[in-house]
Symmetry: C4
Subunit: 244 residues, 4 copies
């Protein structure tokens, strides 16, 4: 047993096969997404969303790269930082992780139960996203696109400064959380501000959410694609892009 | 007298016996917990909780390791960072420190007096934790377990980055406070968000608090134990664990 | 095509003509100002203003110097850091960028349409600045002057610490955003707290805003000039000022 | 003229007499206190107080040590960091600086005029401190004492880490502001949370404030003295204390 415990001291990702490393990285994405969807859904303010992301980015940064969001993974894949196979594994881990967080909600919040529509005193904490009544599905799609792009662009700078050890790396996790908070404060009253396909999908898997998810998920993925437009002209793509 | 003052220049923990060092460390835990329970209890928002923890972690980090919470001490003990004897001393210092902070409340807040039930205009500032009416004691236990786990997991990363001087150490005290704020914002409306056995026990020692503490304290200690599950697979235990 | 992609790897501003570099820098000011006016206008709190600025300063700092505000550019020009020709290009990029952000608002917010006066449920999100009824135009001018000065003074320290790598450079983007948030919280109830000529001009270009912009823009530019008074005696001007 | 401008390039405090340096340092304390009392008084939330302090500490840290508060200067004097003559100059600069900030309030806020009692829509923004009705003058004294002590203790750690370049210096200005915010959130509903003799004295110099200042000022000075009790046992006094 002691030799097994001792093996845990091996620095992360050393002496491991590519598959083992990928499982380790995807598992930490699962764990952090589970906590993130739970905390983010039951909190009464977009600030909690932002700072929960900050601390979970801190937790996962050196293990998985702290994506915690399929749209972020898509941006990093297009920019050459994440191989498509890894990206797929991350997507699965992020969506199932957030769905596991929705199960915590079902277990812990009185009145919210699996397979039911949210009801009662705490129904607003279900993690289901519902847009403002004034918005058409296309406007929901457009808001999620624009806000996801604005959210991801500064995150890319974090990756760049961390890789180049060029001055601002230390504040990386804080910047990621503040970027989410700023855009969630702006977009919140329109769509509830998911900006994350895994979070959009998670609670509808567990509860009977009232609003369809496709406007959200498609908008967020397009937002991840458009974010590259504000990155490539100034930061370029990865020096060791998988498609080079 | 000057030679005595000069002796204070001795760098902390140098040229001292193990016992003197332990007393010094436990005393700073006492002092910081006293301030923490005082500020945290009389503040109207979970944010003050979080930032009070940040500044007090900053104050104590290099002296005691800035646990300020018996559940954190338990996690660090299980992960090999804190010897069980030190952990016991820390527990005593944390609980008595928070109780001393409750005495400050009794002395300073009009209407709150020792041995009485909190009453009057400021009764909500007593530091007693009372859960939402909808929750059973088991649900209180479960909420405190889950939220304490979510609170402690990113804190462990702070320890790891500090020890490995691996990029993010500088932002450590901020991350600890933000992790408390995020989880207190999420869990607050259910249990009041103690997430700390010393804080749960402190005000009931001084005031006649209406709700029993066992659901809180047991949940928080279990949360400290479960936090290891999200740490060990990726960060391992201490390289110099006391039980190796 | 690959060789073109490869050329993106060239580090920013290397192997480029002065004109190409200036276009690159002005373009990132345009992009960030577009996002900044959009997020800042549709957010319900000055905090979102501040943290949106923080993350966009992080995004643009090493490319354009992260001015994102013609008054800041004016201060830096007077202090010798920005050449007047570059300053003019930055001014054009900042005003047109913010106006492009106002176009996003026109496109995305129900009830806000180009060339119309803002109306309906979301009319407060138009990005038009309207002062408190009690204020004369001269008082609006004075408030914007004073608050812009207070906003810019600590920003200059960020530039100085970054150039001298003297201790605090890492926290630069955070300080810039916090300085905006502090002054926007203070000045907000009087003028709405623009503190930025590009933001003052942007929405009146796109919408029929009810209040004239001259008190705002002149006050902010004077604020940028006065900020030098609290900088020069202690920090001096640039070691390589363009006018030396 | 150019040679005069060039002389501004001389790094701060180099090639200057002790008197010139002291005037330079006291002047920056004056300037920052002026801005601090202005922003802090007209802001509707203790948060603006905290972040205004953060950015002004950033502005003054390497010039004057960023005291901006006579109680902080007193603590640093007792701990050997500030010579009593410098401390007196700082006290004068801090009180006159805050009073100058109160003059800005008189000039800019409709309804607040020099020598008058604050009145009208914005009378709460005068910078006069008024305690909760339930408190006796002695309780006001006690609250300001305790909260000033709690505020200053973590600030001392900032000085220590900065001097020893021991890990956390970068986050210094943020910690100072967060410490003020935490204690202002806690103490605010009781005394309005001045925690600063210069701020307590400033507005009564300019306006007819309704509540006498002695409970505030004496409490804050005692708080500065008591803060040394939580510093000396673990951090000691200055290695080059003026009284050694
Ligand atoms: Ca349930
Ligand atoms: Ca009492
Ligand atoms: Ca429209
Ligand atoms: Ca007046």
């Amino acid at each position: 047993m002691w030799s097994r415990i001792r093996s845990w001291f091996v620095p992360p990702d050393a002496h491991r096969s590519r598959l083992t490393k990928l499982i380790s990285r995807a598992s930490v994405e699962f764990t952090a997404c589970m906590m993130f969807h739970f905390i983010g859904s039951i909190s009464p303010t977009p600030w909690a969303n932002g700072i929960a992301l900050t601390v979970l980015v801190y937790y996962t940064a050196k293990i998985s790269g702290a994506h915690l969001n399929p749209a972020v993974t898509l941006t990093f894949c297009l920019l050459g930082h994440t191989h498509p196979i890894d990206a797929l594994m991350y997507w699965v881990a992020q969506v199932t992780g957030c769905a596991a967080g929705a199960l915590w909600i079902a277990g812990l919040v009185p009145g919210l139960n699996m397979r039911n529509a949210p009801s009662g005193e705490f129904q607003g904490l279900s993690g289901c996203f519902t847009p403002a009544a004034a918005l058409t599905p296309f406007q929901v799609f457009a808001w999620e696109t624009v806000s996801t792009t604005c959210f991801i662009v500064p995150i890319f700078s974090v990756v760049w400064y961390t890789q180049h050890k060029n001055g601002y790396g230390n504040s990386g996790p804080l910047i990621v959380g503040l970027s989410l908070a700023a855009n969630a404060l702006a977009c919140g009253r329109f769509t509830g501000a998911s900006l994350n396909p895994a979070r959009s999908l998670a609670s509808p898997i567990v509860f009977q959410c009232p609003y369809p998810v496709y406007s959200y998920v498609l908008g967020e993925l397009l937002g991840g694609i458009l974010a590259t437009l504000a990155v490539v002209p100034w930061y370029g793509i990865s020096r060791s892009a998988w498609y080079r």
